[in-house]
Symmetry: C2
DNA sequence: TGTTAGCACTCAATCCGATAGAGTGCTAAC
DNA sequence: GTTAGCACTCTATCGGATTGAGTGCTAACA
C-alpha cells in the first residue's frame, strides 16, 4: 500500500482547507486549480483514491467529492496547521470585561463564556476554578438566633462559602467566641484536603470538655468546608451550533443542546481536562470528547491557573470543520489574559 | 353578522380539543363524528364558516381543515376549559425534592424547574424570590486582612449576601467591633427600601467622630445591601420544544432557545408577572408574552409567596396547543407545595 | 327555516420520470 | 508518471400527473 509522501500531504491539506471553508465535499478539479502543484484533476484523482485507501478522506457517495475523516483532522491539528500570528485584536474587548467585573468571579466567568462564544461563533464552556487545594484564609461562626449558627468560610482567591447550621439546643456567645478562635488557629492556612478526619477528631478532643454541642458544631463546620459543590459550569452560545447545517438537524441539535443544558457531562469533561495535567490546548475530535451528541463536533479545551491551586478550564465546541487556528488562538489569548488579570488583582 | 350561540361554542370547543390533541387542522367531517351533536358535516361546515368570520378559527389554505386563532385559545382558557381533578399523583416526586434540598435555595429552584419540565414535557422557568421588601436579620463585618473587610448580610428567608470591601488604610479591630454593634442596632429588622440615603447619612454622623474610613465602610455596606443583583433565573427543558414540529424549524427554535439562553428577557417577564399583583395563574397566548421568538408559544405563569416579602415566579413555556389544563394544574400544585414546604421549614 | 346530500372546485402532498451537473474510475496515449 | 477523454454513477431539481382531504355552494328535504 502506498505511503503518505509529501505530495499527498499537500493534497490532503488542500482538501481539508477547502472543506473547512465551504463545508462541501471537495472534488479533484477544485484541488487541481486551488493548489500550486500544477497537476491535472486526473492525477489528483489518483492521489485522492490513495488517500481514501489510507483512511484520510471519504466520499459520501459515488459522484460527490471527498471529505476529511477524523484521522485527517487529527493529522491537521497535530502537524499540518499553521499558527496564526495576529491575536490581540479580538482580545481587547475581553480586557475591558476583566477589569469591569473584578471581584465577582461568577460574573467574570459568565462574561468570559459570552465573549468566547460571540468571538468565535461557536459554543463555549467555562468551568469555575476548583477550590480544592486552596487554603482557608478566614473562618467565622456567628450566632443568628438561639439555635442557629452562620458559618462563613473564605478560601484563597476570596471565594466565600456559607451555610447555616441548626443546633439542637442554644449555645452561648462565649463558647462561640472560643470556637471561633480555636477553629481559626488550627484550620487557617490549611487546604481542604489537609483537614482530614483525624484532625477533626483532635479538634473535638481539644474543645470537647464542654459537651456534645461543640462536637456537633465542629462536625458541621467540617462538612461546610469539605462539601464539594458540583463544579460550576458557565456556557454561552449553545445556539450558535444551529448555524452549521451539518449539526442543525433536529435530532443531533436536540442531543447537543440537551448536553449543554444538563451541564453534568460538561463538568466531567472539565474535570478530565484539568486532571490530565496538560496546561496547553487540547483538541478532541468527534467521539474523542465522549460527550453525548457531540460525535460530529470538535471540542478545543484550555486550562487556566489563577494561582493558589485555583485551576479551571475553558472550552469551545463547534463543528468538526471549525476554524481550529482561530479557536486555539482565541483560547490561548483568553488563557493569558485571565491569568494576567487575576495575578495583577491579587 | 351571526353571534356565538351555544352550538357554535360546542363546535369551537370540539375544534380546539381536537387540535390540541393532534396538532393538525381539523375538518368538518371529524367534528361531525367527534361530537354528540349529531349534525352532518355540511351543517358543521356552515357553522365553521361563521366561526371563521367571527375570528375564532382560520384555515391555513383552502383545502385544509381549520385551526384555532389566539382569540379562540383565549376563550378556551378563560371559560371553555374544564379543570382537572386529579393533581396529586405527579406532585409526589416534588415533595421528596423539596425535603431533600432543604436550605439550599438555588438547588431547590433548579430542581423545581427540572421537575416541572420533565413532568410537562415543556420548558420551564423559575425565578428566585426577590429579596426586596425582606428584612435584614443579621449583618457582620469581619477583618480579613489589614485593609480588607468581609461584609456578610443575611435577610429574612436566610438568604445570604456577601462582599469584600477594600479600604484605603487599615482599620483596627475595636472600630470594627463598634461598627458591627452600631450597624446591627440600627439596621436590623429594616427592609432594603427603608434604608434610604437619609438614614445612611445619620449613621455616618453618629459614628463619624473618627474619620473618613468609617464613612467609607458605611457607604460600602449600604451598597452591599442595596446592590440589586440581576434576578436569578433557572430554566429547564428548553430543548423539549424541539419535540413540537410547529416550533422545531431552525429559525424559530433558534430564536426561542436563544431567549432561554440569555435569560434577560425571561427576567423581565418574571418581574412583570410579580408586579402585576396577580397571585393566581396567568396565561399569555402567542404574542401576549412579548418574548422574542415566542409568538407561536403560550406561556403560563404562577407566583409563589414564601412569606416575608419573598415572592418569585414559575412559568411553563410550550406550543400554543399545549395541554393547558395539565400545565395550570401542575403549576398550582407546585405553588402550594412550595409555599407549604417553605412555611413548614421556617 | 334549518338541515342535509351531492357535486364541483381548490390546494397541498406525493410520486414519477426526465434532465442536468458534478465527480469519479478507468483506459489509452503522451 | 502524467494527462486527456470517456463512460458511468449518483444526487438534486424540476414539471406534470395523481391523490385525497376538505371546502363552498346549490338544491332538495323535513
Amino acid at each position: 500500500m502506498s505511503q503518505l509522501d509529501e505530495r499527498k500531504v499537500k493534497i490532503l491539506q488542500a482538501v481539508i482547507r477547502n472543506y473547512l471553508e465551504t463545508g462541501e465535499p471537495v472534488g479533484s478539479r477544485t484541488i487541481s486549480k486551488y493548489t500550486d502543484l500544477n497537476l491535472s484533476s486526473a492525477t489528483i484523482r489518483n492521489e485522492m483514491a490513495d488517500l481514501e485507501e489510507l483512511g484520510y478522506i471519504v466520499s459520501p457517495h459515488t459522484s460527490a467529492g471527498r471529505i476529511p475523516t477524523d484521522m485527517a483532522y487529527r493529522l491537521y491539528v497535530d502537524s499540518l496547521m499553521e499558527e496564526k500570528v495576529e491575536r490581540d485584536r479580538e482580545m481587547e474587548a475581553l480586557k475591558g470585561l476583566l477589569i469591569e467585573t473584578e471581584g465577582k468571579m461568577d460574573k467574570l466567568l459568565k462574561n468570559v463564556a459570552k465573549v468566547l462564544a460571540t468571538n468565535t461563533n461557536y459554543a463555549s464552556i467555562v468551568s469555575a476554578p476548583q477550590i480544592k487545594g486552596t487554603r482557608i484564609k478566614f473562618l467565622q461562626l456567628s450566632r443568628i438566633s438561639d439555635d442557629q449558627l452562620l458559618v462563613v468560610v473564605m478560601v484563597e482567591g476570596n471565594v466565600i462559602k456559607n451555610n447555616i447550621i441548626t443546633l439542637g439546643q442554644p449555645l452561648d456567645e462565649e463558647s462561640i467566641l472560643k470556637l471561633n478562635i480555636m477553629l481559626n488557629t488550627y484550620l487557617n492556612g490549611l487546604t481542604v484536603e489537609e483537614i482530614n478526619l483525624g484532625m477533626i477528631a483532635g479538634l473535638k478532643a481539644k474543645a470537647g470538655g464542654h459537651s456534645d454541642i461543640i462536637a456537633n458544631v465542629i462536625d458541621a463546620v467540617a462538612q461546610v468546608i469539605s462539601a464539594d459543590e458540583d463544579m460550576e459550569i458557565y456556557t454561552s452560545g449553545a445556539t450558535n451550533i444551529l448555524k452549521y447545517p451539518e449539526l442543525a438537524d433536529k435530532e443531533k441539535a436536540g442531543e447537543l443542546l440537551s448536553t449543554f443544558e444538563e451541564k453534568q457531562s460538561l463538568a466531567r469533561l472539565a474535570t478530565e481536562t484539568l486532571s490530565s495535567g496538560e496546561t496547553g490546548i487540547q483538541v478532541y475530535i468527534g467521539e474523542e470528547s465522549q460527550l453525548n451528541g457531540m460525535k460530529d463536533c470538535s471540542v478545543v479545551t484550555a486550562t487556566y491557573d489563577l494561582g493558589g491551586g485555583m485551576r479551571g478550564s475553558v472550552a469551545i465546541v463547534g463543528p468538526k470543520r471549525m476554524d481550529y487556528e482561530k479557536v486555539m488562538d482565541t483560547l490561548k489569548g483568553m488563557q493569558t489574559e485571565l491569568e494576567r488579570a487575576y495575578n495583577k488583582k491579587e
